[in-house]
């Protein structure tokens, strides 16, 4: 019995062992099945996921195209710089690390707070850019202390530099980090967030060409996002170098001539200067200590450099030889993270250095507009060369009295005399007979009140009013008095210095409505014809020649002192404040005795050589006084330089 029972039990046990073996087979099969599913059936999906894990694609910024002047001198280039990064997750305490860094390099505590805020918004394993303009010396200083600063690393980057500094501030403009606005407006692609793009000037206008094409770098990263190995997938294509028509030497010369004006340089450390600066905070904020000098006017007062603009243009090609606006700014400081002090100097400057007066400064053209009025009248057949009007020093229109600048009157003058002496009354008569519509359409042929479409962005259009304009914008009927005011380039008429230069270039050219070119090598667009008779134009030119050569010419003292090269032109003195009758009766206060803001703008437009024109020039000296004494000498000096240097 025992044996049978034992046998049965033995049977049960061996069945149990077999069941367990079967269980093991089942477990093994389940595992193999699962691995088959993962590693064979789903393999490609997981391979893709694995690749996404390990590779990070990084944009390689292209080297930005350089900007040269017409002779190949560098205006904007790239210099090697170092960016300082810190990975917060590798630091013991980010704040302490930043504080430690601030002892080695310039980092103000406000900026540290800013960085701390930024660090909180991004994953702590991503590098935080502390500075992107470190010099080699600063790098060395940080490297030495490296062991105490875990998580700190450097990136070699390119920094935009402007070797001409202040001279090209408005021209080249500056670059900056791509802003959110740049992306939403579609100016740059979203993958270029870490790049810089042009913010103003040529940098902005030719952004596409200068930028180049970014490349791509494949970075093998670990789970913390720390790069292990880098390989270049696609090299970046550098941006195109640009050559401008500008001559930097002329630009430099023009800038210094304009800034000096009729004043004398005086050392900044002169006690007299120090006294004046202490007494006048506005003066103090308009001058720069680093420059080392300020100016002293004819009455011995300390004054800041003159404010204004100069544009020189080739009358055949429209190539801009120089385009100056003062005061200006250093694009180098704006291309970096600008310090509060620098920013403060820029925005507190009473004369607004960030304003590019050459294209954005809108001034009444004053007497420089008289050529347009004369041309309109000549072309309309209202006058001829010989037609004379009598100037008694004033003209009454309705019950208003309009004065000539020369209160004793010019007597009987024809159009050439009138331009030579800038007789206002002659043009009052002319304008009343010609009418604003004809004047306005003539003005537009010469570019007054129309954008010149110069490359530099942000150009202001100026304004050439006519009857329709007044009705639409002011809602009133045009009055003859307004025609009288417009005839001497006052009232509503507004132009920019570049428009004035273009006007002169077209007057000198006589055939084509050339427009300004800034980039060398661009084929001049087919300019429309001017369509004004050569006879009329030559009368006007003779008038402008008389301005410098005539015995009574308003700029007779400022003819070029060169063999065979003479200048023709026109002065303009623009009132910025209406002269009341009481003031007129008391006798007009001399410009020099008025506060700067109330002084007249001094204008001069011209071209040279007189017989075979090549260059046209426009000079605007803001609140400079009279056009003949403040602007004409500037034009003379620049034209002299141009022809002497054979530029």
């Amino acid at each position: 019995m025992i044996t049978r029972k034992a046998k049965q039990f033995e049977h049960t046990l061996s069945r149990r062992s077999l069941l367990l073996a079967g269980g093991q087979v089942a477990l093994t099969s389940a595992l193999v099945g699962r691995l088959f599913y993962l590693q064979i059936m789903e393999s490609s999906r997981y391979e893709a996921l694995s690749n996404r894990n390990r590779f990070d694609y990084k944009m390689l910024p292209p080297s930005r195209g350089r900007i040269f002047d017409s002779k190949g001198r560098l205006l904007a280039g790239n210099a090697e710089a170092y960016a300082l990064n810190i990975v917060p997750s590798y630091t013991k305490d980010l704040y302490q690390s930043l504080r430690a860094l601030s002892e080695l390099i310039k980092l103000d505590h406000l900026y540290i707070d800013e960085l701390m805020e930024k660090a909180e918004k991004q994953p702590s394993y991503l590098p935080l850019i502390i500075r992107d303009d470190l010099t080699q010396r600063e790098v060395a200083r940080v490297v030495v202390r490296g062991p105490e600063l875990p998580g700190v690393s450097f990136d070699r980057i390119e920094k935009r530099i402007y070797p001409q500094g202040l001279l090209t501030g408005h021209l080249t403009g500056y670059v900056g980090r791509v802003s959110e606005d740049d992306i939403t407006s579609g100016r740059v692609l979203p993958n270029m967030v870490n790049m810089q793009n042009g913010k103003s000037g040529v940098e902005r206008a030719l952004e596409e060409e200068l930028r180049g094409l970014p490349g791509q770098e494949r970075v093998l990263v670990n789970a913390l996002g720390r790069p292990i190995k880098k390989s270049i997938e696609e090299a970046a294509t550098p941006g195109t170098d640009i050559k401008l028509t500008i001559d930097i030497n002329l630009q430099s010369y023009a800038t210094s001539i304009l800034r000096r004006g009729r004043n004398k340089p005086i050392s900044y450390s002169d006690p007299k200067v120090q006294r004046a600066l202490a007494a006048d905070p506005e003066l103090a904020s308009a001058v720069s200590e680093t420059e080392g000098f300020v100016f002293e006017d004819s009455l011995g007062r300390v004054v800041p450099p003159e404010t204004g603009s100069i544009v020189v243009i080739d009358i055949e090609t429209g190539a801009l030889k120089t385009i100056v606006s003062t005061p200006t700014f250093d694009p180098n400081i704006l291309s970096r993270r600008i310090s509060n002090a620098d920013w403060g100097t820029l925005v507190n400057h009473p004369r607004i250095p960030l304003l590019d007066r050459s294209i954005k400064g809108q001034y009444a053209p004053g007497s420089t507009f008289k050529m347009i009025v004369a041309l309109a009248a000549l072309e309309a057949g209202i006058i001829n060369e010989k037609t004379r009007f009598f100037c008694s020093g004033h003209k009454d229109v309705g019950n208003a009295r309009f004065h000539c600048w020369f209160k004793y009157g010019h007597g009987n003058v024809n159009v050439i005399n009138a331009l030579e002496q800038s007789c206002d009354v002659f043009f009052y008569e002319l304008a009343l007979k010609t009418g604003i519509q004809r004047i306005a359409s003539m003005a537009k042929i010469f570019g007054i009140g129309l954008p010149t479409d110069v490359l530099i962005p942000g150009e202001k259009p100026g304004l050439m009013p006519d009857k329709k304009w007044k009705e639409q914008n002011i809602g009133q009927v045009w009055t003859p008095g307004e025609t009288v005011v417009a005839s001497i380039g006052q009232g509503y008429v507004l132009t920019t210095p570049i428009q004035l230069a273009v006007m002169m270039a077209r007057l000198a050219n006589g055939k084509f409505q050339i427009s300004p070119q800034l980039k060398q090598g661009t084929p001049a667009p087919d300019a429309p014809e001017i369509g004004v008779s050569e006879a009329s134009l030559s009368i006007i030119r003779r008038g402008m020649e008389a301005v410098l050569d005539g015995k009574k010419g308003t700029a007779r003292n400022y003819q070029l002192d060169l063999d065979g090269v003479k200048m023709a032109g026109k002065t303009g003195t623009v009132q910025v404040k209406r002269i009341t009758k009481a003031e007129r009766d008391r006798g007009i206060v001399d410009n020099m005795d008025r506060p700067w803001k109330l002084r007249d703008h001094a204008l001069f437009v011209g071209y040279a050589p007189m017989d075979k024109p090549k260059y046209a020039i426009a000079v605007v000296v803001e609140h400079g006084g009279s056009g003949s004494s403040a602007a004409a000498p500037v034009a003379r000096d620049i034209m002299t330089y141009l022809f002497e240097q054979n530029l």
């Binding site: 034992a6 073996a21 093991q24 996921l49 694995s50 390990r54």
Partner: protein
Amino acid sequence: MKKLISPRHVPTFSTPLHSNTGATTGWFRAIPWLMIFVLMMIGMVGVLSLYSAAHGAWRPWASMHAIRLGLGFTLMMVVAMIPIHFIRRYAILWWVLAIMLLAVLEVIGTGKGGVQRWVSIAGFNLQPSEPAKLAVIVMLAAYFHGLYPDMLRYIRTYIPAILIIMIPFTQVLLQPDLGTSLMLLLAASVVIFAAGIPRWMVMTVFGLVLAAIPIGWSMLYPYQKSRIMVFLNPDLDALGAGYQITQSKIALGSGGVVGKGYLQGSQSHLDFLPERQTDFIFTMIGEEFGFFGCIYVIGLYTALIFLLIRYSFAMKINFSRLLVIGVAAMISFYVTVNIAMVSGMLPVVGAPLPLISYGGTAMMTVFLGLGLVISAMLNEKDVHD
């Protein structure tokens, strides 16, 4: 057959493993050389994998692992020298010692986040729940060894067995270490099953366990619950608790058929794979050697387990038979739970891959268990003498 069969001696139901001819060479031939060969193969996989886990370096893991393998091998052989009846007689001592160690852990144990699994003894970190598993198997085997088959019918027979299991089970569960405690319970269940528990009892227990699952759920720690929830849906927390599973699956899957090559596993070497030297070492093998590599490793373990099952068939001493089955079950559960976990079939519970994962306790437990197996085999002949 005329001899009265004592209850301690189960009748032979298989051919002996070795013919008992030469007295001098008997013990040598009794050593399961095939099993030892498989063990060495597994150990080699471990050393090579740990070399790769350290990005192709012996330090810090591979060399230490090789040393431990040597120590473990020695331990196995030393244990094999102990007469099996001696082990059986003093099984209770081992069991009590294991329970005491677990109790000590309650007081002085160290671990992360209030979880106590380690105890430091003489500078070595010991995880007492591992030897406790083996102690329960040995103790159960010893208990069932002394029973007449008839007694298996009575429920009261199982009360001591339940105590043997539940005391250490509860201690491990309270550490808390759900994974190890469940593996202890499963291995013990296999021993009881192999001992011949009546079928109706198996069915009843099975039914009760199913009914208890909802109650058990409510008693889990929040982190254990989240592990299970995340296991069921890894996307719930792809960067948190689901991160390990997700990355492990990516590593395994991207390994494909033949793998990315030795030392070339990007997931492992770029630190996407957590714990690649311990619980997730199989993932790294799968990434570097692909499906074939996985089959090879699983094949080695399966060979080891089937060898043990085959040895158990030849065992004439009930204690030895149950012990060998228990050790086989323990190894099987280690391997299955680990691979199922890293391939996303089970929640992450923290189970090593024995002899391959870096870590001493599980390895020593396995060598200890296999030492007992060899001892049982060497002592088989004593029964017949």
